[in-house]
Symmetry: none
Subunit: 189 residues, 4 copies
Amino acid sequence: MRPQSLRARESVLTATCALLEEGGLPAATVDAISARSGVSKATIYKHWPSRTAVAAEAFGIKMATAVPLPDTGTAVGDLTEQVRLVSAFYSSHAGSTFAQLLAACVTDPAGAPYFREFFLNGRRDAIGVLWRRALERGEVDDEVDVETAIDLLFGPLIFRLLSGHAPLGETEAGAIASAALTGLLRGRG
Amino acid sequence: MRPQSLRARESVLTATCALLEEGGLPAATVDAISARSGVSKATIYKHWPSRTAVAAEAFGIKMATAVPLPDTGTAVGDLTEQVRLVSAFYSSHAGSTFAQLLAACVTDPAGAPYFREFFLNGRRDAIGVLWRRALERGEVDDEVDVETAIDLLFGPLIFRLLSGHAPLGETEAGAIASAALTGLLRGRG
Amino acid sequence: MRPQSLRARESVLTATCALLEEGGLPAATVDAISARSGVSKATIYKHWPSRTAVAAEAFGIKMATAVPLPDTGTAVGDLTEQVRLVSAFYSSHAGSTFAQLLAACVTDPAGAPYFREFFLNGRRDAIGVLWRRALERGEVDDEVDVETAIDLLFGPLIFRLLSGHAPLGETEAGAIASAALTGLLRGRG
Amino acid sequence: MRPQSLRARESVLTATCALLEEGGLPAATVDAISARSGVSKATIYKHWPSRTAVAAEAFGIKMATAVPLPDTGTAVGDLTEQVRLVSAFYSSHAGSTFAQLLAACVTDPAGAPYFREFFLNGRRDAIGVLWRRALERGEVDDEVDVETAIDLLFGPLIFRLLSGHAPLGETEAGAIASAALTGLLRGRG
DNA sequence: GCCTAAGCGAGACGGTACGTCTCGTCTTATC
DNA sequence: GATAAGACGAGACGTACCGTCTCGCTTAGGC
């Protein structure tokens, strides 16, 4: 019969983006999204399994075009630069929303796939490009899995972002990137 | 004047431990803690700023004595072994509670200091011992900050635990530990 | 849109009646009403401004049909009989609930209109009928306001009920009715 | 040691008076009384059975000297004037506190005797004087009990004060006094 | 072009935890 | 050994958000 309305999806995502911008994930309650988008709660729950899923998709779409890929000419430069860009992003308003979303996915397993699909995958693809470029240039260890590489570079940043146990400025991001690239063992740099 | 009662603190922490064991953080509601411990909600809120804080302290105390320090004879062995132990811990029931706590700290800033104080610090101290031991043996790069080293080794595990974007078995933990030690760049292993 | 459910209203009022019967106003907590009626607290607070309001409405409805109008043939008889009936009512279990409700309305201004609407008005209407009947028969002073008459007849009973400074049996009720009818001045009876 | 006791009593009553003045009965929390008087809660509960009792005593003492007895030369004048004075009092800030105290006595039976002892009795004694004076002058019906007379004159005012179902200005007070004196029956005025 | 089944808005609802409040009792430490 | 200071147990309060449901209105797509 009547197909699900595209308009509803888009209104919801637009409204959710605005709410996330204004007050982070806590502001993006289902009632608030419903009120602002003019889409009823029931309809929202027909399109998404949970509030986290909506927020994850909205946030992912917004971010998709935000961080450009660097090209400094070397793998070391590109990856280090990328870590720096990402750590700057984490320090921003959006970074806090990212943390809230990641945290919400722990509690809401139904939302996690959306977060991965619409946010993490995009990020990982982008960095995968850098990694493959570096591999082709022979600059990085081809025995290291791309997944491992990505987590090694960004996991530490994310851990700091979430728990706040240590600062996360440009200096620290640089130190982490450097350590990840050259390793912890002695006489490797 | 009458000092705050130790008994109340201890009852609360014991009850919270039990609840965390049974149903993770979601089970450790303030009402449940109050009911099981026989300590009133008002008193709980006089001792701790939030439910997350209680849970963090309870969980941290329980874990403090749980994971022993390895001593394999080499820094590489010790640190790798520690990463393996921790990843095994993360795969367990308690690991899920850990993730829930870390996630809760994003939403509840008042709880975060408790989590750092009673959980992270303990963990970091333990690993700091390993790191210093390795430094003395000259096995690791003395230009790397101990904080950086710790986050590099465990951040990736935690990131995977939270988002579930990649498996986290013994193999993966080994790969991460190995990559962290030898670095991502070519010709370093 | 979906209208407020009659079922919810009725369940709440029924449950509240039962609770009032069992333990007076102190037993009619919002939690208890919610639990017994199966209506959630939030919904109760959407229908009524406060617990007192719910209790007042429930009590008023129950009483509305409980005390019949007497018809002894004379105004003196009718009014005296009514005072006697009401004082008997006040001595009963329900009378204590009445006192608790009236007292609660002092503290909870939001509940007072409900008490007047659902309890007092009903009572006053009933007695107004008696008063007009007496007026038509020319038995009572047509310069006295019906409001004044009612308060003169029942105010003393209520005052005694609340403060308990004097007994309130059939004898006392008769004395009050008699004094109200004939006045305090000498040579009027 | 003993004299300390007296000081405690007085501090408590003074502090309670001030609190009643500022915010009525709701402001006279036991904690607030304790804090303001410098007398500990435990000591307060050694002298009085409940918060209502403290408030009742404090209020009664304050009011004891406030309303003078009128002497217009006739019983009609005196009693009418008294009703008017009392109704003016009820319209004041203190009147609202009176209502709150009376209401509290319904819920707190332990406080009721204090209220009667320290407030009602004083009032009733004062009016008893007027009543006896009128009796001696032969102006009032000597078959009417003084208790009945008092309740007939003031019960209606108090009822209106509590439930707010009708205004309580000078006009209404006059009408009530008049009706109480001459009675409701026809041809008696 | 009509009809009908579904999509949809609006928001009421049950559920559940929250953090706060005040009461009256109990426990120290002090004077 | 009485008191101040205040911690404590008890339990109701009113609020928030979740995700489900129940209404009617709207609107496509099949006939």
